[in-house]
């Protein structure tokens, strides 16, 4: 079994796999956390969950920047030859859209806390104070960014569902290596 940190022409390396799953779990976790934190009864728990959501959001933003930099330096292995023309053309667009949502979601959240008239500071994991984005604070701006963050979250999670569905289709229906090669670097290369 051959393992590599970097991608090879037929396989994903450990770094890509690790970043993919870490971000995937955090992204879905953030959606669930965001959904719960605005519905919870206890104001105290809600406040604490919102601060955790902000901390994880900043962590995600950092991981995503790292991931994009890594992706730019590490070409993804091509799809197996069995993949059809339509999917061969649309999959890169879907992946590009997934990257766009990964960047836009934490940024819109950061904009939301920056313009909020509640003026609650951001302190990721209580480690340091994250400055606000240079945006003017107002109730109108807060409503706008709250709505933007909300719509992006639902559109993003719909795209994630499509992505998960496609991966499961490859694994269980088409029985190719598309999902397997994102789980372990020893798989791939048909």
């Amino acid at each position: 079994m051959q393992t590599s940190i970097t991608n090879t022409p037929t396989r994903y390396g450990w770094a890509t796999i690790l970043l993919h799953w870490l971000i995937g779990v955090l992204f879905i976790g953030q959606f669930a956390l965001g959904f719960i934190m605005v519905r919870i009864q206890s104001q105290r728990t809600a406040f604490e969950l919102i601060q955790l959501h902000k901390s994880l959001g900043f962590l995600l933003l950092g991981l995503i920047i790292l991931r994009i930099a890594w992706r730019l330096g590490n070409a993804a292995p091509p799809l197996p030859p069995s993949v059809g023309t339509l999917e061969r053309r649309t999959a890169p667009l879907a992946h590009l859209a997934l990257y766009a949502f990964q960047v836009a979601l934490p940024l819109s959240g950061w904009a939301l806390v920056s313009v909020s008239t509640l003026e609650i500071p951001s302190m990721p994991f209580n480690l340091f104070v994250m400055p606000n984005l240079p945006l003017a604070e107002s109730d109108a701006a807060e409503s706008f960014w709250a709505a933007a963050h909300w719509y992006l979250a639902y559109a993003g999670i719909a795209l994630v569902a499509l992505h998960v569905g496609a991966a499961l289709r490859h694994h269980f229906l088409l029985r190719d290596s598309v999902l397997r090669r994102m789980i372990t670097p020893s798989s791939g290369g048909e």
Binding site: S42, R44, E48, E119, P121, M123, N126, V129
Partner: protein, 191 residues
Amino acid sequence: MHARILGFAAFAACLAVPAAAAVALSDAAGSYTVSPTGSSIRFTIGKAGGGGFDGAFARFKGTIRIDNGDVGRSKVDLTIYPESVGTGQSRIDAFLRSDAVFDAANSPEIQFRSTSVTRTGDTSALVTGRLTARGKTFAEKFTAELDGLKGGTIKFHVTGKVLRSRYGMDVGTPLYSNIVDFDMTLTGKRG
């Protein structure tokens, strides 16, 4: 001639200041009811990264009793209604009233009962007492400065720091400081 007059005036002024203060405190003896008009209870909590947020309690009641001859036997009682908290931001007010902070529905009163008053200057005193909030009681200290005495009205400027975590109000630390800075103006009316 002018120099002598000025010198005398300066001497008289030096005498007059402590004398007036001493007279003020002995004149001050008596019982006062804290009047909502002319009184305010404000607080500030520092924020990580600078700045802070300010608030005030609109409703409170209290009595101040200044002992004739022995300031140390004076007493201060103050009851604050946390339901009346105001910060200028209604969402923050609702948060402060909720069980996240004051739990005003179940703990409608914050009480201060002085246990000792120590004079620290001509017009100042250190007031030690027991502060009760959300069912928890701790000793706290406040500095009181006499700000004026006219007719039956006495005015104090009171400052002090309270650690909110001890009263089960630690939510938001360290984003928001644990130290609550109180700044009160208490105007008492005799009787």
